[in-house]
Each structure stands twice: as structure tokens, then as C-alpha cells.
């Protein structure tokens, strides 16, 4: 029995060492950890070494890879700060809370968050703010009281007008069009559709809107609705789909149907899902805000807050590197600008 005791304790020792060494492997290097804290003291006066921590909705999402790793990191490097990206692996309402807490403990100077939920991270954010951290939200806002600034991707008017202008250009400003939306009660979709209708009525009298169909942001449903649209409206000349799921499904249908090239399709989509259809001529152009510009702007906004050049009140102005000068609007909102239009000429520059 004595013998086995020794065996057991040896085994336990091995297990403990293995675990500890695993944890040690996990830590990249201890210097960065102790330096990364940036000791929560110190005023935000000098921006060199400003730690900006990005917290996306979830890691491994191409959209946030573009906004954070591409745009955000570029900006942080330009002003010689320290860039970090942490976040949950799935987008759950309170998944970001523990990461915000950790950032508060580390005393990072600035947080750039795309909120999974407008309310859930609030108490954690407030705690970080009371410890002196500046908080910028982008893409998805939190309640206005728990952030300093919100970077909005594009105004609803801008999004609606861009799409109407594109379809008008592609069908020669006259003919029948239809809209393929997401869910019938989606707030942002309906706001955009109302604005499109107004814009069509005011500036494009020869374009007739046959109707709006709903694909519920489901690939197969959107595909079927596209087929039904083309059957019900033989004279249809164009489709607008202001949802990334819808536009991809509609493009896939058009690509294989006889309507390819005859019926124009535009809307909001991502370059990676639409690349094939733009190259083979199914789709001429579509739009979306540029996430990497969004992250870039958010990082500069965070820096301006840390430096104290702006406080987040309406009318403050700051310069965001190569993007130029921006002004803070109502409710601490900064507008990125009009959506980017993607076509054959520029689609290969984007990867998200």
C-alpha cells in the first residue's frame, strides 16, 4: 500500500504540473501582462501607450475581424497606442460582461465595444467608466448613459438613398421594382423601406414599387420569395434587398435563372458573399458601410476622449487619421458617413 501511495502522489504531482504548465503555455509572456496593465494611475495626458481594448460581439466573426483587427488596429498603431481585442466566442446578452470587468481591473484607458445587448453590459461599463476608462460603442449601441460616444455606421437616410440611387441607375430610372426584406417587424428594415418609398415618390416618378416581400433573414425562404417575385411580376426590372441574407439568396436564384442580367439586384451585402455574383455579372453593385473604417474611426474617437480633446458633447470635433474631421452629433453620436458602394472595380480590396 505504501508503494501505491507514492505512485498516487507522484501522479497527482504530474497532473498539477501539467495543468500549471498548460496555464503557463497559455500566457504569451509575462512582461506584456505586467506592462499591459498600464497601472490605473497616471492621467490620460500623453496618448502614447494608450491601451485601447476592442470587445466585439463575438470573436471569429469576419465583420468584426475587419472592424477591429484591420481598421481598429491600424488606427491604434498610427497613434502608437496598445491594441487589444478580447471577447466572448458566442454572442450572448451578458457574454461581454466579464471581459469589461477584466478591462476595468486592468485599468485600460479606452474600451471600444459593439454591444451584444443594449442593457446587459451597462453596469459593468459604468463601473469601468467610474474607474476612468473611456467607452466608445460602435455598430450596436448601448443605452446612451453608459458610454461616452457611439459611432454609427450610416444614417438611415444615407442607407435608403444609396440603394434607391443604385437601382435607379441600373434600370434606367423607370420600370417596376420590388423589395426583399428580412422579417416583417424588423425595426431597422422598416425604417429604411419607409425612407426608400419616400425617396422613390419624390425623385423617381417613373419607378413603380410592386411590393415588399419578407424572407425572414432565412436563406431558403428568401430564395423562394425571389422566385415567386419573378413569377408574379413578369415585368420586374429590379430588386432591392436591404439585408445581407436576402441579397445573397436573391443573387443565387438570379444566377441560375433566365432572369440573370435582365433583372437588376442591389441592396446591403458583404463583399465575401457577393464577390462571385459581382464578377459573373449577376449583380452590378451593392452597398454596405465599411466595417474597417468604422473600427478606425472608433479607435480615433477613443483616443480623442482619452486625450481630453473631446468630452462627447454635441459639437465637439476631432480628426480621425486619414478619414478626416468628424463632429459629434446629438446624444454623443458620430456618423461614419454614407455607405460604401461595392462593384467590380473595388470588391477585391475587401475581405469580410
Amino acid at each position: 500500500m505504501k508503494f501505491s501511495t507514492r505512485r498516487l502522489s507522484a501522479l497527482a504531482a504530474v497532473a498539477v504540473t501539467a495543468t500549471l504548465s498548460l496555464t503557463a503555455c497559455g500566457s504569451s509572456d509575462n512582461n506584456s501582462a505586467s506592462g499591459g496593465g498600464n497601472s490605473s494611475g497616471g492621467s490620460g495626458g500623453s496618448a502614447s501607450g494608450t491601451t485601447v481594448t476592442f470587445i466585439p460581439k463575438n470573436l471569429g466573426n469576419p465583420y468584426f475581424d475587419a472592424s477591429d483587427k484591420d481598421g481598429g488596429q491600424k488606427a491604434v498603431n498610427e497613434f502608437k497606442g496598445k491594441y487589444q481585442e478580447v471577447g466572448p466566442d458566442t454572442a450572448t446578452p451578458d457574454g461581454q460582461v466579464s471581459f469589461i470587468n477584466t478591462a476595468a481591473q486592468q485599468g485600460v484607458k479606452a474600451l471600444v465595444i459593439s454591444a451584444d445587448d443594449p442593457k446587459a453590459p451597462c453596469s459593468a461599463i459604468k463601473q469601468a467608466m467610474s474607474a476612468g476608462t473611456k467607452v466608445v460603442t460602435f455598430d450596436s449601441d448601448t443605452s446612451a448613459d453608459c458610454r461616452d460616444l457611439y459611432i454609427s455606421q450610416a444614417s438611415a437616410e444615407g442607407i435608403a438613398k444609396t440603394q434607391v440611387d443604385q437601382i435607379a441607375q441600373q434600370i434606367g430610372d423607370s420600370g417596376e421594382i420590388a423589395i426583399l426584406s428580412a422579417a416583417a417587424n424588423a425595426t431597422n428594415q422598416n425604417a429604411w423601406i419607409d425612407l426608400m418609398k419616400k425617396d422613390l415618390a419624390a425623385d423617381h416618378p417613373n419607378i413603380k414599387l410592386d411590393g415588399v416581400v419578407y424572407g425572414n433573414d432565412d436563406d431558403q425562404t428568401s430564395f423562394d420569395k425571389t422566385a415567386a417575385l419573378l413569377q408574379d411580376h413578369p415585368n420586374l426590372k429590379g430588386i432591392i434587398s436591404p439585408t445581407t441574407v436576402g441579397i445573397a439568396a436573391a443573387a443565387r436564384y438570379l444566377d441560375t435563372s433566365s432572369a440573370k442580367g435582365k433583372v437588376a439586384l442591389t441592396g446591403l451585402g458583404t463583399p465575401n458573399q457577393m464577390r462571385k455574383y459581382v464578377k459573373d455579372g449577376t449583380v452590378t453593385s451593392f452597398a454596405l458601410w465599411n466595417p474597417s473604417d468604422l473600427g478606425y474611426l472608433a479607435a480615433y474617437a477613443a483616443k480623442a476622449l482619452v486625450d481630453g480633446t473631446i468630452t462627447g458633447k454635441q459639437g465637439d470635433t476631432f480628426t480621425a487619421g486619414t478619414l478626416g474631421k468628424y463632429t459629434v452629433g446629438a446624444d454623443g453620436t458620430v456618423l461614419l458617413g454614407d455607405p460604401t458602394v461595392f462593384d467590380k472595380s473595388n470588391i477585391d480590396k475587401f475581405n469580410f
Binding site: 500500500m1 500566457s27 471577447g87 451578458d94
Partner: protein, 363 residues
């Protein structure tokens, strides 16, 4: 404990020198203790080496972030010791969260009343699980996979994609307050109360003996007078009720009631319970190990986040740790078998002698 006193009349004083181990070994050479030791080691290492870990905030956030896991792990440990499993806990959390939101904001009930009704809804949900497992005799894995989807569907269906967010600050602040001037959040108090209750239930009551008995052999348990079905039924109800209570806490802490709250938490709970030395086959486990398991996962996550590790690396470490700890049981069992064989037939003979003599005295 050196000489065998075979033939003692009182069975309580009878000893088995051939294969009972000294007290220190029975206490120290257990999986529970190994996890506690590991917890102390990791904590001490982190406090010394991880920047910002050694601050009062760490403990505070550890309490806040792991409270719901800790709460649900207590009854879950009992369920797993009986050899069953409950995968619907996180869905009950979501359902309870939605109930609190709707009852408070649409029906205008006060938070305590809304919370009470949410717990009752949890009890009903648990009764459904318990009835199907205990009285219909269906396998709990299949049943709770089904009810996991069912309760989650109900929760999301009741609110759709919206969220209820206007809770009185009095209550939302309470969920985050410190106890007086200490570093511990208020939620620690209900956790301790429940811990005392469950420790008594599992380790100091006849009900708890029955729980272990069922896990070891439910036939035998049945014939030795344990009401197997009722015990399982009660445990599923307890688990769902505690999950519902955790749902109220999450709702107040995050200030939002959403159908997808706590998605995926059932696996976090089960991982912590198994890490704490509870056997997935049932029949073995102790609550001090479970508490240490929850804390160990929490401390590792906290330390690694402060080291700026990505969530994937953290998951890899915790996953590896869990696999190692589950493996260690089988390795230990194999080793003790080997050593038993090596110590030879002498022990075996002695054991048989003791066994036969004790069986004669037992009449």
C-alpha cells in the same frame, strides 16, 4: 487502527484494518482535495504573477460572474450523483428571466412577487422533467435535451427578440452590492445559505444516503427502502427551482430579461460539477469538491483574461483540465487495482477472513 477486533458486538466500532486507510489518507487522497489543492495553487500563483489579479475587485467579480453557475451546480451535483443529468437548467434560467420581465413590467407585479411566480414556473418545469424521468422511466439525457429546447423555445417565444429592461434600480443595485465594506457581493449570502442546505441534504440526511445509494445501484436502493422515483422527482424540482432563482439574479444583475439569457450555461455547470469530483456514472461526489470546481474554473478564467488570453485558449485549458481530472479517476482506479494485485493474496485472504467473520457476527 492496527489490530482487528473481530467479533465486536456493536457494528459501529468494527474496523477493517486490512483495507481501511488511515484518516489522513482518506481525507487527503481524494479528487475533491486534489481540486481544492489545485485551486489554492492556481490562486496563489495568479496572485503573485498576474498583474491586477491581487485586488479586491477580483474576488468581487469572481462572485458576480460565477454566482449562477455556483447556485445551479449544487442541486446538479445531487442529480448527477443519482446517475441522472439535467440539461434543461439554462433554459429554465431563460424562462424565469422572461417571466420576471413580463410579470414585473406588463402585469405590474413587484419584483419579489414576480420572482416568486418565476420560481413556481421553475418548479412546474422541474416537475415535468422529474415526472418523465422518475415516474415514466425515460432516460434523463433524452428528456432534458427535449425540455431544454422546449423551455428555451417558450422563453424566446414569450418575448420574441425584444427585451424587458426597465427594472427598479433598488433591485438592480442590490444584485451588485457589496456586503458592507467587504469585497464580497451580496449574492454570496444566498449561495452560502443554499450550500448549507444542500450539504445537510446530501451528507447529513437519510435523503442524501438514498441519493448515493441510487447512484450506486437503484435496484438495491429500492429494496433497501429508498423511494427511488420520489427522490429523483424531488431532485429535478429542486434543480429547476434553483435555476429559476438564478434566472432572477441574472435578470437583476444585467438589468435585462431576455429569452436567450444564460444560453449554454448548462454545460458550464456540468463541467464544474464533474471537475469537482462527482462521477458522471453516479454514486460518488461531495459538495466541497463541487464548490472548488466552480471556483477553480472561475479563477483560471479570471487570471487568463487578465493575461489577455483569448477565450479560445481559456476554453482549451479548462477543457484539458476537465479531461485530465476525469481521466485521473480511471487511472487511480487502475493503479489501486494493480497495487491490490501486487500486495498479493495475503490481503485478499485477510479480507475474506474479516468478511466471513463479520457476516457471522452480524446476525
Amino acid at each position: 487502527m492496527t489490530s482487528a477486533t473481530v467479533g465486536d458486538t456493536a457494528p459501529t466500532t468494527r474496523t477493517y484494518p486490512a483495507y481501511s486507510r488511515p484518516l489522513w489518507r482518506r481525507v487527503l487522497l481524494t479528487r475533491e482535495f486534489a481540486i481544492i489543492a489545485l485551486l489554492v495553487l492556481v490562486f496563489a500563483w495568479a496572485a503573485g504573477n498576474v498583474a491586477n489579479f491581487n485586488s479586491p475587485l477580483t474576488i468581487y467579480f469572481l462572485g458576480l460572474d460565477n454566482a449562477e453557475i455556483m447556485l445551479i451546480a449544487l442541486p446538479m451535483a445531487l442529480v448527477i450523483i443519482t446517475g441522472e443529468i439535467d440539461l434543461s437548467v439554462a433554459s429554465v434560467v431563460g424562462l424565469s428571466s422572461v417571466m420576471v420581465g413580463i410579470l414585473h413590467q406588463d402585469a405590474g407585479l413587484s419584483i419579489p412577487l414576480a420572482g416568486l411566480i418565476a420560481i413556481l414556473v421553475g418548479v412546474v418545469a422541474g416537475a415535468l422533467n422529474g415526472f418523465l424521468v422518475a415516474y415514466v422511466g425515460l432516460p434523463s439525457l433524452a428528456v432534458t435535451i427535449g425540455t431544454q429546447a422546449l423551455f428555451r423555445g417558450l422563453a424566446v417565444g414569450l418575448l420574441g427578440t425584444t427585451a424587458k429592461t426597465d427594472f427598479p434600480t433598488k433591485w438592480t443595485n442590490l444584485a451588485q452590492q457589496h456586503i458592507g465594506n467587504t469585497r464580497y457581493p451580496v449574492i454570496v449570502i444566498p449561495i452560502l445559505v443554499l450550500l448549507v442546505i444542500f450539504v445537510w441534504l446530501l451528507h447529513f440526511s437519510s435523503f442524501g444516503r438514498g441519493v448515493f445509494e441510487i447512484g450506486l445501484n437503484d435496484e438495491a436502493a429500492h429494496f433497501s427502502g429508498v423511494n427511488v422515483a420520489r427522490t429523483k422527482f424531488i431532485l429535478f424540482i429542486l434543480t429547476a427551482a434553483v435555476s429559476a432563482a438564478a434566472g432572477i439574479y441574472i435578470t437583476l444583475r444585467t438589468g435585462n430579461a431576455r429569452g436567450d439569457n444564460a444560453t449554454g450555461d448548462e454545460l458550464k455547470v456540468i463541467a464544474a460539477v464533474l471537475l469537482g469530483g462527482v462521477s458522471i456514472f453516479g454514486g460518488r461526489g461531495a459538495l466541497h469538491g463541487v464548490v472548488a470546481g466552480v471556483l477553480l474554473i472561475g479563477v483560471i478564467q479570471s487570471a487568463m483574461r487578465l493575461e489577455n488570453q483569448t477565450v479560445n485558449v481559456i476554453n482549451i485549458v479548462i477543457g484539458a483540465l476537465l479531461v485530465l481530472s476525469v481521466m485521473s479517476t480511471s487511472v487511480l482506479a487502475w493503479l489501486s487495482k494493480q497495487s491490490a494485485r501486487r500486495t498479493g493474496l495475503g490481503t485478499l485472504r485477510r479480507r475474506q477472513a474479516v468478511a466471513s467473520s463479520s457476516s457471522t457476527t452480524e446476525r
